[in-house]
């Protein structure tokens, strides 16, 4: 159609202005795609770090303990024996079982004291569920087998502790009496999860059970599962617990990661807000462009009307021009976005240089890597083009609605 050809040819007029509008749209698209990639990377890595270092895929606990799990009490514990292990391990999809005894303690280095979370574990079981073993900077997980403790690097720095130093953990037993665990540091870890690095001390399960006077009991059992819908594993587990009349339940890691999931919901609103700003920038650019074009081409519009063009036909020419700007800006933005996201996916973004994010509930200490989301590219491009067309209608109508006589003789 001739109007389409004319609209597209009009793009070659006011090259500098069109270039600036296209650049602004492209840059805002890039900003959106880059931010979206970081946010998704942040979410994905947060979830991975929680699953790989804190919760596993499923956790089993007494419902009352679960309700008050932040209190780290020694009530409502699970009686841990071979029968329960056998039952859980036979559930399809379960690939690792790690019994844990969590407790609160005060760590004393002989000079200072600070509150920590103690975690009694069986190293072989723990390694099946968590990835901590790959993040030792000194010592190894086998230290636990030698009745030694493993602490995080940040905790070691804070308390001025080194490998082979002795620490004293002041604990309360099940009967609420004080006891101490006097133990040598056999390993120092630096994981991707800041909680593990700054507040957690890993100890042999048997030592902890003995010190807390909770023989054969654990607070929770963490499970590693095959990648399948968690509900398909949780339901058979719970059916088994009910059948054996065990007062325990299985919980998805998502329930433990509620804070991060809440952050993820906030992320969605944040991305929506960024998208709105991006589209608003595009809209302002297009509206500005069409208004200026309408002003500059007033006598040309008058001529078009004199030739007998209807208003909607003139509006259509301007809409094609806006569409061209939207498409070029969108393509340039997607290209810039592709380069940016590719860099982000390959090299990551060093989050630590922007402070300690763990204090905001983000369980990442090092780099955030971007995530590819081709849908976001398609979505922002299409939405951008639609917004470009829609935002051109009013200014184009304003331009086309001019009185033909005034328009023709406009100087």
């Amino acid at each position: 159609m001739f109007s389409i050809r004319l609209g597209l040819k009009n793009l070659s007029r006011q090259k500098r202005r069109n270039f600036i509008t296209i650049f602004v749209i492209a840059f805002s698209f890039f900003g959106y795609l880059f931010t979206e990639s970081i946010m998704n990377g942040l979410e994905e890595m947060s979830f991975e770090n929680i699953r790989n270092f804190e919760t596993g895929d499923i956790q089993i606990a007494h419902p009352d303990y679960w309700e008050e799990r932040d209190e780290l009490t020694l009530k409502d514990l699970i009686s841990w024996d071979d029968g329960l292990r056998e039952m859980i391990s036979q559930t399809p999809g379960v690939t690792g079982i790690s019994p844990e005894l969590r407790f609160s303690a005060n760590l004393n280095n002989g000079i200072d004291e600070m509150g920590i979370i103690g975690l009694g574990i069986v190293p072989e079981d723990y390694n099946q569920v968590f990835q901590t073993q790959d993040f030792f900077i000194e010592g190894s997980m086998s230290a636990l087998g030698e009745n030694k403790a493993v602490i995080g690097e940040k905790l070691a720095e804070l308390m001025d502790l080194k490998l082979d130093d002795y620490i004293i953990l002041l604990v309360r037993t099940k009967e609420d009496t004080f006891n101490t665990i006097d133990i040598e540091i056999g390993g120092i870890i630096r994981t991707l999860n800041p909680m593990m690095n700054s507040r957690t001390v890993l100890l042999p399960l048997s030592t902890v059970q003995q010190s807390l006077n909770v023989e054969n009991s654990v607070t929770m059992i963490s499970l590693k599962t095959t990648p399948m819908i968690e509900e398909n594993i949780i339901q058979p587990l719970e059916d088994n617990f009910q059948e054996k009349e065990l007062p325990i339940r299985a919980y998805s890691w998502r329930e433990l990661a509620a804070n991060v999931i809440a952050l993820s919901t906030t992320k969605k609103s944040g991305i929506g807000a960024i998208m709105s700003v991006v589209l608003l920038i595009g809209m302002v650019g297009i509206v500005n462009n069409i208004i200026l074009s309408g002003l500059e081409r007033t006598s040309e519009i008058g001529m078009m009307k004199a030739l007998g063009m209807k208003e909607w036909e003139i509006v259509f020419v301007f809409m094609i021009e806006a569409l061209g700007i939207g498409v070029l800006g969108g393509l340039a933005g997607c290209l810039l976005g592709y380069i940016g996201v590719r860099w982000l996916v390959r090299n990551g973004f060093y989050i630590a240089s922007f402070g300690d994010w763990s204090q905001y509930g983000i369980p990442i200490v090092d780099r955030i890597y971007g995530v590819w989301n081709t849908q976001a590219f398609a979505y922002i491009f299409m939405l951008g083009v639609v917004v470009a067309i829609l935002s051109s209608i009013l200014p184009a109508y304003w331009a086309a609605h001019k009185d033909p006589v005034e328009a023709i003789y406009h100087r």
């Binding site: 001739f2 050809r5 004319l6 040819k9 009009n10 070659s12 007029r13 006598s299 040309e300 008058g302 001529m303 009307k305 004199a306 030739l307 007998g308 063009m309 209807k310 033909p404 006589v405 023709i408 003789y409």
Partner: protein
């Protein structure tokens, strides 16, 4: 039946509370194939009269009939359709689209009619450009043409759709005298060869000489209407 008939046409512009009469009752009949000039001093109502005839504006009072159809009280949409099919315009400042070539500027007008095949349209545009002496310059953009050539493109654009009437408001005002004569000769040639009716306004006595009918407008009224023998 005359091609164009104006009966007691009046036009009053309002500037705030002040009413400014531009036409004070014009009666005029134009037959098909006439080559008419409207002249008169500035502010005499020449442009207003051409705008009324060209369906760009509507009269405050009176009637205008084009080809037997009353056009003085048509809706905006119908006025646009009347302009599209029946009227061609030639403007003082050419009003060509700078991003389109000479060929495309002429093609633009014929495409609005849209009754011809691609091949027929192309042939007509080339034929018309040849008629106005622009053969070989079809692919030049307005910026690459002289003033006279631009105005000839505008003439071709007005003629290509076989308009019943061509209105030209001071078509030579922006041209030097030699180019102006060249353009008016071109218009005369088209009038004679195609039988198209031309009505143009001018201040230039040299250009006026080419017309066969002379309408003198003074204070919004026709003061004289003479024909060349």
């Amino acid at each position: 039946m005359p091609l164009l008939e104006l009966k007691k046409v009046k036009k009053v512009y309002r500037q705030g509370k002040i009413e400014v009469p531009a036409l004070r009752g014009v009666d005029m009949v134009v037959e098909e194939g006439e080559f008419t000039t409207i002249f008169g001093p500035s502010g005499s109502g020449k442009t207003t009269l051409l705008n009324m005839i060209g369906c760009l504006d509507t009269p405050t009072e009176g009637e205008i009939h084009l080809n037997g159809n009353r056009i003085s009280d048509l809706s905006k949409k119908d006025l646009a359709m009347t302009r599209r099919h029946n009227i061609g315009f030639i403007f003082q400042s050419y009003n060509l689209i700078p991003v389109l070539t000479a060929f495309e500027n002429v093609e633009f007008a014929i495409r609005l009619i849209g009754r011809l095949s691609e091949k027929e349209m192309r042939e007509k545009v080339l034929e018309m450009l040849e008629e106005v002496g622009l053969k070989g310059k079809e692919n030049r953009k307005p910026g690459e043409l002289s003033g006279g050539e631009k105005q000839r493109v505008a003439i071709a654009r007005a003629l290509v759709k076989k308009s019943k009437i061509i209105l030209a408001d001071e078509p030579t005002a922006n041209l030097d005298s030699e180019t102006a004569q060249e353009v008016i000769k071109n218009m005369t040639k088209m009038n004679q060869e195609l039988g198209t009716t031309f009505i143009f306004s001018t201040h230039d006595p040299q250009i006026m000489e080419y017309a066969r009918r002379f309408i003198n407008l003074k204070d919004g009224m026709i003061s004289s209407d003479k024909r060349k023998d």
